[in-house]
């Protein structure tokens, strides 16, 4: 691991002031479950590491509930374990607590944070190999496109790098209409989670739209009484990444789904909003038939790589199961 200077600022402003305006030289440290690995593997080699542990962004702001009863404001430093176990969140956003509770293992969830989950680097095995000069490390090609790509993107349209965004909270938060409060040198700004992610194709880009000298303070989830759920298809039940994930949210009144949002995870370099799927369900009752049809619609347009066509099928199933779960149907797949 390259030597670095370690900073422990007391405020977000101080943290921002320490950040460089280009990627690579400074890194923010939250739970460290990603950054430390990257440093040990010589993938990240920052000169400065700035810990966020003292900047006071670790809380779920319940007081916000009084002032703005429609919003839940989650400090970016909340751990995944805290999110997964929070009763209020569980009642309002089971999609979020389920997704948070399924990430990694207990050690990861106890250390990993909300902000870190959104800003983590991708898990592509070429990106993570010190010796492979992939696009995101300044190389001139994506090795996955013609290489080992069983876990890579199936919505590959126009993407030079075909990794998948690794965040499982992101699809949920997008479906729930959440936004992030971000601080930079010029103060705070709000970024909708739907606009937060980016498909990088060079070493000077990240998986999100934040500038190198910005940090996430909090995530606000509006409480619109949406039915919501997240479903992951996983190879292993313990400690694995999803092969695909579907997050869904919709209003459900008089057995009619409206304001439907369906967002897929682990299928594209960014969370993938499945508009056709949402449209397919809009105004309909959630049944096995309508959920299946939405699932099929979600898989439309996929352009899988040489080894991952199976993920297209899984998208349809994950969407169907997420919708049925959100609508409170019996989980026919659990025996």
């Amino acid at each position: 691991m390259k030597n670095f200077s370690y900073y422990r600022p007391k405020t977000a402003e101080q943290a921002v002031a320490l950040l460089d305006d280009k990627w690579g030289t400074t890194e923010l440290l939250a739970g460290g479950t990603d950054l430390l690995d990257l440093q040990k593997e010589y993938i990240a080699q920052p000169d400065k590491v700035i810990t966020l542990r003292d900047v006071g962004i670790n809380q779920l702001r319940l007081d916000g509930l009084d002032k703005k009863p429609d919003d839940f404001i989650l400090g970016a430093g909340m751990t995944l374990a805290e999110i997964a176990a929070h009763r209020g969140l569980k009642d309002a956003f089971p999609a979020l607590t389920t997704a948070a509770g399924d990430i990694g293992g207990p050690q990861i969830r106890n250390m990993g944070t909300l902000g870190g989950n959104l800003c983590q680097r991708n898990r592509c095995w070429y990106f993570r190999d010190e010796h492979t000069p992939c696009l995101l490390k300044g190389g001139d090609k994506c090795f996955a496109i013609d290489g080992e790509n069983r876990y890579h993107a199936i919505f590959t349209q126009g993407h030079k790098c075909v990794m998948v965004n690794p965040s499982t909270l992101a699809p949920v938060l997008i479906a729930l209409g959440a936004s992030a409060e971000v601080m930079g040198p010029k103060g705070k700004r709000t970024v909708k989670l739907a606009d937060f992610f980016h498909a990088p194709s060079s070493a000077s880009e990240r998986e999100h739209v934040l500038k190198p000298n910005e940090l996430v303070l909090s995530v606000t989830i509006p409480y619109h009484h949406l039915k919501n759920a997240s479903y992951e298809v996983r190879h292993k039940q313990s400690y694995d990444w999803p092969l695909v994930q579907a997050a869904v949210a919709f209003k459900y009144e008089d057995n009619k789904a409206t304001d439907v949002r369906i967002v897929l995870g682990h299928v594209a370099p960014t969370p993938h909003v499945a508009e056709a799927a949402a449209k397919a369900l809009e105004g309909k009752e959630v049944t096995e038939a309508t959920a299946s049809a939405a699932g099929e619609a979600a898989a439309q347009g996929a352009m899988p790589l040489s080894q991952n066509a199976y993920k297209v099928k899984l998208v349809a199933v994950a969407v169907k199961r997420a919708l049925l779960t959100a609508a409170g149907h019996k989980k026919y797949w659990e025996v």
């Binding site: 095995w125 290489g147 190879h235």
Partner: protein
């Protein structure tokens, strides 16, 4: 003198918790990784990132000047050719591991990158001749071995029904939880001590002594080289001898005049720490209408990496069942680390190439696959029944029949089995079985044990053998305690140091059948020595004295002494006994049925297959295993359960994935080299099929062999489609369903 197990056994065969459980669970047990010596340096290895290259230039000048660097040891030199990504080039020691890792990256090295082949199918398509010379040639594809049974042609003609299929298992890695490595320290006396993670304590010291005395012409007698392995975190066949990192650590320690720790990191452990060769084969099987197997034909290949060994046990194809055969095997050398022995080497591969097609055939015949197996079991060899009634050959049919019966009952086979694919619902239940066999005899080389009884009643059992996590330590104490009438906790163990006498590497399931009899002999001899020495002071004849639980009894006078009181009569002496065992000892008529060889084994797996996602969950495995006389029932069952867990991982998760373009493994980690966690584990039901009359047989390896085949057959039973290659991933299950036309 004849050796035999006591007729009445108090401890042998009971369930004894492992004596080192508490120290392991609390972290007090010091593994090689935990050893830190004063002034110790940390070493890392520079590895070649290319799958095939020649070193054009190599300059470690910059690296030498890096902070903390104390020594560099070159393994390869300019002009040397490297044949796999991960091959070791040099070792470097620095004051901290971080400094070493930084410094090794400062070594300037240029390569002529040469063509490589890392996938078996690529070599078959075109032999690129990318590997090291073997027999003067660089061919990737070696000449085929083939053989046929005289009865094969007739068998093929006799077949009323034939089935063909292609099946395969990929290269998997040993993935030892404790990586390979050691701490090496040269002493003031010129001797060398290593704390090594090894399956061969004595052999490691022996090899190091030879290596360094030969190389440096120094006086390094074996007596001055010591290997210490008190606790060990798994080897599975990949940790014999000092290995390259052992040699390099000792070289660096010698150069830097300081102790050196060199433990592989996870990526190196996976890439270079050992792998099991692949096996892929086309199989054709023939049978009569009523299910009598008439012919078996296999054409298979696999890669031992840059090695040259077979990837199946050629002479044992078909596996377990005697069928007229025709077989062919091709070794494909690829630019990847050489295979190493892995828990029952090549038997899982043979099991794959035999057990899957049996169920495919049973389906075609409309038969219950259990009945098909019963019908085709090997017979008891009548000759052996007379000459060696306790040998596997004499008992094969009897053992398998009985084990199948037991397993079927435990698994409720009759209730749960259904014709393949004949269940409703999206998530389908399936049940399947497979058989295996293994040896497990005493080692041909010497294993020793000594037992000393002190005047204060304390007892020391001493042996250099290793406990890889198998429970051997507990077994040594258990047997000593049995013979001396004590409790296992009363035995002090001096264990896992090469100076404690000869022992052999733990391979071939030979440890317990070698060590248990050696301990029996040592404890018996110590007991007899004790009785002889104290008899005069107890006014007894030695032959009147016997050991009872915690007591010495004079049978003639009907008088007893408490153990401690009796031992006190040793006064200023000790009572000692030494014992040894070898395979040859085990075959002497006098020593009949002390240790033996040859086991069967039956496993039945149940799965739930989600036919929409292709995700397989294994819910229950019944493992019935014979191993002769069970010494410690608890650790023996634990060995079987561990084998089943490993086999489940072969079935569902494990695969070394090589990248065609870079020639490197893309999943050298525990993230995408998948290993099941607690939620992926089934209920495991272990049944030890006791046959104490056969003596002790090693059981470390057999339980790993057939688990994946049982799971594969259970999946076939669930969905009525064959998923023919491990690991049984969602992708492959969906593909099999789609091919069958049943995918939803």
């Amino acid at each position: 003198m004849a050796t035999s197990w006591p007729k009445k056994r108090r401890l042998i065969g009971s369930k004894l918790q492992r004596l080192d459980g508490p120290v392991k669970a609390t972290g007090k047990a010091k593994y090689s990784y935990d050893i830190n010596r004063p002034g110790m340096l940390h070493a890392v290895l520079l590895r070649c990132p290319h799958a095939h290259a020649k070193i054009k230039s190599l300059d470690s000048g910059e690296a030498e000047k890096m902070p903390g660097v104390k020594a560099i040891h070159a393994i390869k030199k300019i002009g040397d050719e490297l044949y796999w990504a991960g091959e070791e080039i040099l070792g470097l020691a620095a004051d901290t591991e971080e400094h070493a890792l930084d410094a090794v990256r400062a070594v300037k090295i240029e390569y002529d990158v040469l063509p490589h082949i890392v996938k078996e199918e690529d070599a078959l398509k075109e032999d690129g001749k990318t590997v090291s010379p073997f027999g003067g040639k660089r061919n990737n594809v070696l000449a085929a071995k083939d053989a046929a049974d005289d009865a094969f042609e007739k068998g093929r003609t006799d077949a009323a029904v034939t089935v063909e299929g292609s099946y395969g298992v990929p290269v998997v890695c040993h993935q030892c939880l404790e990586s390979h490595g050691l701490v090496a320290e040269w002493g003031e006396d010129g001797g060398l001590t290593v704390w090594a993670s090894t399956q061969a304590v004595w052999g490691t010291a022996d090899e190091l002594a030879r290596e360094f005395s030969g190389k440096y012409k120094i006086d390094l007698p074996a007596s001055k080289v010591k290997c210490i392995t008190h606790y060990m975190g798994g080897g599975f066949g990949s940790k014999f001898g000092p290995d390259i990192q052992g040699i390099v650590a000792a070289e660096l320690a010698r150069a830097a005049k300081a102790p050196v720790k060199l433990m592989l990191d996870r990526a190196s452990e996976i890439v270079a720490g050992g792998n099991r060769p692949s096996a892929y084969g086309k199989v054709k099987i023939g049978a009569t209408k009523d299910g009598k197997l008439t012919s078996y034909e296999v054409d298979c290949y696999g890669t031992p990496g840059v090695g040259v060994t077979d990837t199946v046990t050629f002479n044992a194809l078909p596996y377990v069942y005697p069928i007229p055969y025709k077989r062919k095997h091709v070794r494909i050398r690829t630019n990847a680390a050489m295979q190493r022995a892995m828990r029952a080497p090549n038997h899982p591969q043979n099991c794959t190439l035999t057990e899957f097609i049996l169920d495919d055939l049973a389906a075609k015949l409309g038969m219950d696959p259990l009945q098909l197996r019963l019908k085709n079991l090997p017979q008891n060899n009548p000759e052996k029944v007379k000459t060696a009634p306790h040998s596997l050959d004499a008992l094969k049919n009897t053992i398998y029949q009985r084990e199948i019966e037991i397993a079927a009952a435990l698994a409720k086979w009759k209730e749960k089995w259904h014709p393949p694919g004949k269940t409703d619902g999206v998530v389908k239940h399936g049940i399947g079985m497979a058989l295996h066999t293994w040896g497990g005899q005493a080692s041909p080389q010497r294993n020793e044990c000594t037992v000393t009884i002190h005047a204060d009643g304390s007892v020391v059992a001493r042996t250099s053998t290793q406990d890889l996590g198998t429970g051997q330590r507990t077994v040594t104490a258990l047997i000593t305690a049995e013979i001396l009438g004590l409790e296992p906790g009363q035995i002090t163990l001096q264990f896992g140091e090469s100076t404690f006498g000869a022992s052999t590497g733990s391979g071939g399931s030979t440890t317990i059948p070698s060590q248990a009899p050696a301990t029996l002999r040592a404890a018996t001899a110590a007991r007899d020595d004790l009785l002889a020495k104290i008899a005069p002071r107890l006014h007894s004849e030695p032959k009147e004295l016997i050991v009872e639980r915690g007591k010495i009894r004079n049978t003639a006078q009907n008088k007893t002494w408490d153990w401690k009181a009796a031992c006190a009569e040793l006064a200023k002496q000790e009572a000692t006994g030494a014992g040894f065992w070898t395979y040859d000892e085990s075959t002497k008529p006098d020593n009949k049925d002390v240790s033996s060889s040859g086991v069967g084994g039956v496993q039945i797996a149940e799965v739930l297959v989600d036919t929409e996602t292709g995700v397989v969950r294994c819910t229950r495995i019944v493992a019935v295993q014979d191993c002769g006389m069970v010494v410690n029932r608890l650790t023996c069952e634990s060995q079987v359960a561990g084998g089943v867990i490993m086999g489940l991982n072969y079935a569902l998760f494990e695969e070394r994935i090589m990248d065609r373009a870079t020639g490197r493994m893309v999943n050298p980690d525990m993230e995408f080299y998948k290993l099941g966690g607690i939620e992926d584990m089934p209920q495991i039901v272990v049944h030890l099929h006791d046959m104490p009359e056969r003596g002790v047989i090693g059981v470390g390896e057999p339980p790993v062999i057939s688990t994946h085949a049982a799971i594969g057959n259970a999946i076939f039973n669930a969905i009525g489609a064959r998923v023919s290659h491990t690991p049984f991933t969602p992708e492959r299950v969906l593909a099999a369903l789609a091919a069958k036309g049943g995918a939803k």
